[in-house]
């Protein structure tokens, strides 16, 4: 039985975490995502499932709590917003290096610096290109509704454990704060230590006589071995790119033009499609759901069929670089961005489509 609730995107993250059998949440307050920690504190998940919730002294502490919990084979997560996610990059890089599965939620606000508390999509580069030091990627899921905020918690954990890699939900302040109806699955139990020992034999849960000691580290002072480790990581990323691309197409079948957008700006584009089609412009929406892995093949195919693409982002133009690389110069691709916490209006999206792509 699915249960129907009306709640904020941030609260949906928390409720989903309790229900999917998350073992621990470690976080630090920052607008616009503090409801995630607040909701968990109100719900007392320790009494429901045994899930631990802790308010840490900083984002640095939070992410390293996640590192250690993940190293014990636990399903652990944190959440923050842009400045806090910057602080977490150390731990995320270490987790990528040590191949630890975990879930990080970024409810993005405008930057750079302290920036604004209003929604933005200006952390695309940081999320999809690694973010911290070293050659690595994390899996990035971009929800566009409160329902997807909930659904991507379980999906994020599943992908993280499938590939022993951190996963991120890259949301924004609008989706975190908006209320919508959302359906939840029933509660799943957390894994027992016995299951953790079986499912994640690498986890540090105590050396027993039947196995060698487990070590979780991202360090290897021997360059030859470090190179082998890097090659192994890269092979894993190629596998993720091959198997885990997710996207949604809306009104693309007869489309002559395409909006590419994710999250909040993809919702604006849906309204823009209606307005444009009323004017006789055949435009569709391609919505990447995984930002890493990026839907490279699908965009390339689309670029052979349509006349032009408009990338609609709440940023100075970040995803457009991936779209252009994917399209390999086949057609005209332009960017329409809003920054600093401003959201596009559907009418201006249509106007820019007409000016920059159709008339340009």
């Amino acid at each position: 039985m699915r249960e129907l609730k009306l709640m904020k995107g941030n609260e949906a993250i928390s409720e989903a975490a309790i229900r999917v059998g998350c073992d621990g949440y470690f976080g630090y307050p920052i607008t616009p995502q503090s409801e995630i920690l607040e909701y968990l504190m109100v719900e007392k998940p320790e009494e429901i499932s045994g899930m631990i919730v802790l308010q840490a002294e900083s984002e640095l502490a939070s992410i390293n709590m996640v590192y250690a919990g993940a190293a014990c084979g636990k399903r652990v997560m944190t959440s923050s917003s842009s400045p806090g996610i910057s602080l977490m990059q150390e731990g995320i890089s270490y987790m990528a290096g040590a191949e630890l599965p975990s879930l990080i939620v970024n409810v993005v606000r405008g930057g750079p610096g302290l920036g604004t508390i209003q929604p933005s999509q200006s952390d695309y580069f940081q999320a999809t290109k690694g973010g911290g030091h070293g050659d690595y990627h994390i899996i990035v899921l971009a929800p566009s509704s409160v329902q997807e905020m909930a659904d991507f918690v379980g999906l994020g954990f599943d992908l993280a454990f499938k590939y022993r890699n951190p996963a991120m939900i890259l949301s924004d302040g609008a989706i975190g704060q908006m209320m919508e109806k959302v359906e939840f699955d029933e509660h799943q139990p957390r894994f027992t230590e016995e299951e953790i020992r079986k499912n994640t034999p690498w986890a540090t849960v105590g050396k027993t006589p039947d196995r060698e000691r487990n070590i979780i580290t991202s360090l290897d002072l021997d360059p030859a071995r470090q190179e082998i480790h890097n090659i192994k990581l890269q092979a894993k990323y190629r596998k993720i790119e091959e198997n885990e691309v997710r996207f949604e197409k809306i009104a693309c079948d007869d489309a002559e033009y395409i909006f590419v957008a994710y999250g909040t700006s993809s919702r604006i584009c849906q309204k823009a499609i209606q307005l444009a089609r009323e004017k006789g412009i055949k435009v569709g929406l391609f919505r990447p759901i995984t930002l890493y892995p990026f839907p490279v093949k699908e965009i390339k195919e689309l670029s052979k069929k349509v006349k032009g693409i408009l990338s609609v982002e709440m940023s100075a133009g970040q995803m457009i670089e991936d779209i252009r690389l994917a399209a390999e110069g086949n057609i005209k691709i332009e960017h329409f961005g809003k920054m600093g916490g401003i959201i596009h209006s559907p009418a201006e999206v249509v106007e820019v489509l007409e000016q920059k792509i159709i008339g340009g």
């Binding site: 631990i52 390293n64 250690a68």
Partner: protein
């Protein structure tokens, strides 16, 4: 008599009076001659062995000379980012309250870059053990000034001696955390003589027993030397430690059973 003193004879089981601890691996220690890390590693592993808790003990290695501590200790271990071990230990203990969790940290790790994590884990009273090896210098990176470097002490980044006006005072973090209500047992020991080794081992045993009894946070500082970083022979380094480090960092219990020692 003399012909009996051969390698073969010495290695005979009946002649062995001192041997490698069961829970140390066969990996040769990478530490400099006279360094206190090897001894400290060993006594932690002796305590874990004697308490029979190998399968329930999880250690955290720091960044610094003991970054490879996990190569020498035959238990499940995690390697921390610099200074973050107390945050990690917090999560591990919260998620698995029945396990024994210890962090092993140097002075730069614990008292400079990780000060926030140290203070807050101590203040929350996490039921963990922190082992703090203080040699007043950054050993692994080549002898730079540490938060615990003494006034006037030379290092590669205080080549004319630590000037407290421009470089700040050494931080007595152990006395500081003893003031926090979350700490249960705080002690400062050393491992330069057999008698001190025995005292340190007793303190570490007590720290692990406290975890078993869910008493809260135990903090064991080990004042140590760094012959390479201090540019001395091992013997000189120990002498210098006794004459200079111990007056500033006096040995003994600072807080026992949540009560400050008068």
């Amino acid at each position: 008599m003399e012909e009996n003193i051969t390698k073969e004879n010495i290695r005979k089981k009946e002649n062995i009076v001192y041997k490698k601890t069961n829970l140390m691996t066969d990996k040769v220690l990478s530490y400099c001659p006279g360094c206190g890390h090897g001894t400290t590693h060993r006594i932690i592993m002796e305590v874990v062995d004697e308490m029979g808790i190998q399968s329930e003990t999880l250690g955290i290695a720091p960044v610094g000379c003991s970054v490879l501590a996990y190569e020498f200790m035959n238990i499940d271990m995690q390697e921390a980012a610099h200074g973050r071990a107390p945050a990690m230990a917090t999560a591990m203990k919260r998620l698995m309250p029945e396990k024994y969790i210890f962090s092993y940290q140097g002075d730069g790790d614990l008292a400079a870059i990780g000060t926030a994590e140290t203070i807050h884990a101590c203040n929350r009273g996490e039921n963990i053990t922190i082992i703090f090896v203080n040699n007043g210098i950054y050993g692994m990176t080549g002898g730079q000034m540490a938060p615990t470097t003494l006034p006037g002490m030379k290092s590669s980044t205080s080549p004319y001696g630590r000037d407290i006006v421009t470089m700040g005072n050494p931080l007595k973090i152990t006395e500081l955390i003893a003031q926090l209500p979350g700490t249960y047992f705080v002690t400062r020991q050393a491992v330069h003589t057999p008698a001190n080794v025995r005292k340190t081992k007793k303190a570490i045993r007590k720290a692990f027993e406290n975890q078993k009894l869910k008493k809260g946070l135990s903090f064991v500082e080990v004042v140590s030397n760094c012959s390479s970083g201090w540019k001395m022979t091992p013997v000189q380094a120990n002498k210098w430690m006794v004459e200079n480090m111990f007056p500033f960092y006096p040995l003994g219990d600072i807080k026992v059973d949540r009560e400050l020692v008068k």
